[in-house]
């Protein structure tokens, strides 16, 4: 037993409490069943999110964990992650809705077999969405990953702006309606258990089942655990160590035989993969993919989650993601209504992105390693990476404490 505990501890990092993770998982599973009780509590009851809100929070946290692979592990600033969310959501729209009314194709779908359009079961759609988004990541990555970090940021931002515009204008590509323009694609099929439903208990269709939110929540929770698991395993893999080497010193990594382009492209592709799955799942939950959802602010919102939690730190990003997503989708408006009740005319939801901006700047200035810092990244920030200049321009010509003999 203690052997297992040691192994888990080694996997999680020195400071992690081994029992914390199972405890959080247990609480997570129990939450929907005690939700009403919690919401009736005095004072804090109003601040308890509903199960539906939790699904949204988890979807965005998944994207943040995906983004963390690109930004946190590999040190590539991606300002266009929203593009992957869009690709995922539209894949769900294409493969599981009545959008392509020219054909009628059903594959294990949880909706009525007579409906026109392509209806593939959401389980397959999730995987296809992940793979397609991965492909999108590679396509975006190949021409741009050769560029220096800050150029990469602006190019990804460019893609993040182009894809929503393509989606918005995509109702007539040479007469072919690909994305249905500003109206978006709706409704998108719900998740369900088309085969297992024969046993009973498992609903064939979440939408029509008695506790839609609860089912969506449970699956979302599993997907999040899966994402975190993959993320931990990737970090400790050969590929993950190559990413971290690139983040710390690209030249040295290349000299040690790390293939830069391939490694970076993998980080892009795998980071995109989870964004695609989360996007498709969220699209199914809210039963639609609309171009208005995919704008630059979402990318910054996700980036802010990563920064708040700690770049490269999986647990940090998960916590940061849950906190910010909570604030965004329920907390700020609750706080706002409390403030309004107190008679002050101030609506914090209007300034949400100003608040995220302040969080970003304050974190960068005072706690750049994040709420739950990753050990290694913290050392990089505190001791500097090895391309610091000999001369400290800040104190005009004073030598830094770096000793050239140590290099």
């Amino acid at each position: 037993m203690s052997d297992t505990v040691d192994r888990v501890r080694a996997r999680l990092g020195d400071n992690a409490n081994v029992w914390l993770v199972p405890a959080v998982i247990l609480l997570g599973i129990l939450y929907p069943f005690v939700e009403e009780g919690l919401q009736n509590l005095p004072l804090i009851g109003d601040f308890m999110p509903t199960t539906g809100t939790l699904v949204v929070m988890i979807a965005f946290t998944m994207m943040a964990v995906g983004l963390n692979i690109v930004v946190g592990y590999c040190g590539l600033l991606d300002l266009g992650y929203v593009a992957f969310y869009a690709v995922g959501a539209y894949t769900a729209g294409w493969l599981a809705s009545q959008h392509f009314e020219q054909v009628t194709f059903h594959f294990g779908s949880s909706v009525d077999n007579g409906l026109v359009g392509i209806h593939v079961t959401m389980w397959v759609v999730l995987i296809v969405a992940g793979l397609l988004t991965m492909l999108a990541g590679i396509v975006i990555g190949l021409p741009t990953l050769r560029l220096r970090g800050d150029y990469l940021a602006i190019v990804t931002l460019g893609f993040g702006e182009i894809i929503p515009q393509v989606v918005r204008n995509g109702d007539s590509f040479g007469g072919f309606n690909l994305t249905n323009g500003t109206f978006g694609i709706a409704p998108i099929d719900p998740v369900g258990f088309p085969v297992l439903s024969a046993i009973g208990f498992f609903p064939e269709n979440f939408q029509t089942s008695d506790n839609r939110e609860r089912w969506y929540y449970m699956i979302a929770f599993l997907l999040l655990l899966f994402t975190i698991f993959c993320s931990v395993r990737l970090r400790d893999s050969r590929l993950g160590r190559a990413w971290i080497a690139i983040r710390e010193d690209e030249t040295a990594a290349a000299a040690m035989g790390v293939p830069l382009m391939r490694t970076k492209t993998w980080s892009y592709a795998l980071g995109a993969f989870f964004g695609g799955i989360a996007g498709a799942y969220y699209a199914s939950f809210k039963s639609g993919a609309f171009p208005a959802d995919f704008y630059f602010n979402v990318s910054v919102f996700l980036l802010c989650m990563v920064i708040l939690g700690g770049m490269g730190s999986i647990w940090g990003v998960t916590v940061g993601g849950m906190i910010l997503a909570y604030l965004n989708f329920s907390g700020l408006s609750t706080i706002g209504s409390k403030i309004q009740d107190a008679g002050i005319d101030f609506d914090p939801t209007k300034y949400q992105f100003g608040i995220y901006g302040i969080i970003i700047v304050l974190m960068m200035l005072f706690r750049p390693a994040g709420l739950i810092p990753e050990r290694r990244h913290k050392i990089e920030l505190e001791e500097g990476v090895h391309d610091t200049p000999f001369y400290d321009v800040q104190t005009e010509g004073a030598l830094t404490d770096r000793n050239p003999a140590d290099d």
Binding site: I154, G158, I162, M364
Partner: protein
Amino acid sequence: MTDLRARVLRTLRNPKLVNSIGLGLVALVGVWLVVNFIKGPQEFVNVALDGLTRGSIYGVVALGYTLVYGILQLINFAHGDVFSLSGLVASTILLSVFGLTADSSNLVVIGGIVLTLAITVPLFAVVNATIERVAYRPLRHAPRLTPLITAVGMSFIVSNISLALYGVDYESGSDLIPQGAAFSIGEINVTWKLIVALALIVPALVVLSWFVTYTRQGKAMRAVSQDTEASAMMGINVNRTISVTFFIAGSLAAVAGLVFLLEYNIRYDTGFELGLIAFTAAVLGGIGNLAGAVLGALVIGFVQSFNEGLTWHAPGGDWTRSIVFGILIAVLVFRPEGILGERTPEGA
């Protein structure tokens, strides 16, 4: 298999191939322009003049990006938002404090514009330098990603300050300048818009280029952007030089903000998109290169106007953003050093 892959990769990386694809794209655009010109020469020139108006405004904003990038290698995302805040403040001063309306006489309007500039230019110079002092200076030794992320955060803070002060409504001072053409040559109309834009922007550019070329501080700026450590060793006060750079960038943003207010309409998030366009212009011209920024901005201005104004096979306004970013990506892939930039060993 490996052999084939290696061969394909080698072909793809062949600079000749990359160059000829790039030139092919440029040639396509050229053909498109020529056909449009033949189909309607007057319309074409009018659209081009509109592009000149836009391009000159983009140029002033692009200079702000390129100056800062040249000296700190930082994309100052907040620059665009400083620009729109300055335009909004200018609207308060012009329209509310001075109370100018469409009926005011020309002399009063000109006086009002000059006085407004006298207020907003120093104000936003200080605002921009303060942003540098507070948010970027403490991070000068952090990994490169850190100040870049901070700049994104600052951008949101500044745009939310605009939102808090001015709400979501558009402000416009376009009533103040005469509509329509100042004079016409044949069917080609030179609009007042263009004249006002050039009358404000050209002097700003002349002053800037005099400052950078001839003054001591301007020389210091160029020295620091070439080699920070060496200039520190030569006794240049690096911090002051960086502050001066932000100061100048801020005053350029204020000029651009006022011109934009007079020609179009502006609100809290105008600066975000315009900033991206201006940054693209700076990259297109060769980032860090002042003449390049203006040239790139004019090109982008023309591209935007041609795209929205021409009739033969133009994608139209819905696609402007995609086209501008498409250009950005194409430039970074085919010619990362920009039109006027020099090829550096490490690439772009």
